[in-house]
Amino acid sequence: MELEQNQAELRKLGLGVAAISYDSAAILRDFAARKGIHYPLLSDPDSKIIRAAGILNETVPASTPYFGIPYPGTFVLDAKGAIIAKYFEDDYKERYTSAAILVRQFGESPAASRSEVAGKQLSLVASASNSVAHPGQRVALVLDVEMKPGTHVYAPGVEGYIPIEWSIKNSAAALAHEVISPKPEILYLQAIDEKVPVLEQHFQLKRDVTFGADDKLKADLDSSGNVTVEGTLRYQACDDRICYIPQELALKWTFHYEGFDRERSPAEIMHRLK
């Protein structure tokens, strides 16, 4: 399970880790043993905790074995137990990975799917929070950009100049979300008496990508059986004297495809009609 891979990293950051569901302790014990889970899976069979947290899914009919489930998501708590962030799905088909949360919440530099790209006036490292593409998972992509000393690029959305622009080729296999960019520096251009928002030195651009349904991922695999996400970075760098020719760099992230887990608990403990 994805959280199992990242729980050591989370603990190193001083964070406790636990997951809660409406499953019986027996189901959770079986699941933990099968999957090699080493953090607490708390049993909330009457959905008391789920209800108290205000996330009981009330659209599920009470007569089905599915009644009692929560809207799935993650709470990030501080040392006193106050909620500092919540990661819940925009849509039931989408789930944040814990690695993506590590990137977004704690500014971790991801380690997966790394590639280095050298352009004119800048170099960058492209990486992802996860190396695996699983249907419905939402992962974080990061561009760590290093500008040549003395140069800057124009912040996204700027007018009158060519802003730095990161586009992703959308497909049914992967849908990109909006770019998160850092607060720009305001540069005063004395010669023309203008203030312009710029990014310079070292900065990070982040955006999430949500993988599509299993059949869409399978239809899009490359010859090695991997899922690839392609994009481009367009920019124009300037220094205090001149502006250089606009550039466009090709970007690519490669993920190992992993399909569904359809395995159920043993018959005697699985959820049944009430």
């Binding site: 809660i20 302790a25 889970i37 899976l41």
Partner: protein, 66 residues
């Protein structure tokens, strides 16, 4: 984590605007109600016992069974 079986998808045909504007759980800055529960090994935990020096990540998931 598991995926809902197709049979369940009919229950969730809400307009996407309802899902997108929904805010889940207590407000940021407030606390989750205290709780006590057993884990897969029978060990009892409270919300307080789960907190590390920098806090905690609490994941609510649908089911380990289906």
């Amino acid at each position: 984590m598991r995926r809902l079986f197709p049979a369940l998808s009919a229950l969730l045909l809400l307009p996407s605007s309802v899902l997108l504007s929904r805010d889940y759980g207590p407000a940021i800055g407030s606390k989750l109600p205290d709780f006590e529960a057993s884990d897969q090994d029978g060990t009892r935990h409270t919300l307080r016992s789960l907190l590390g020096p920098k806090g905690a990540i609490i994941v609510f998931f649908r089911s380990a069974d289906w």
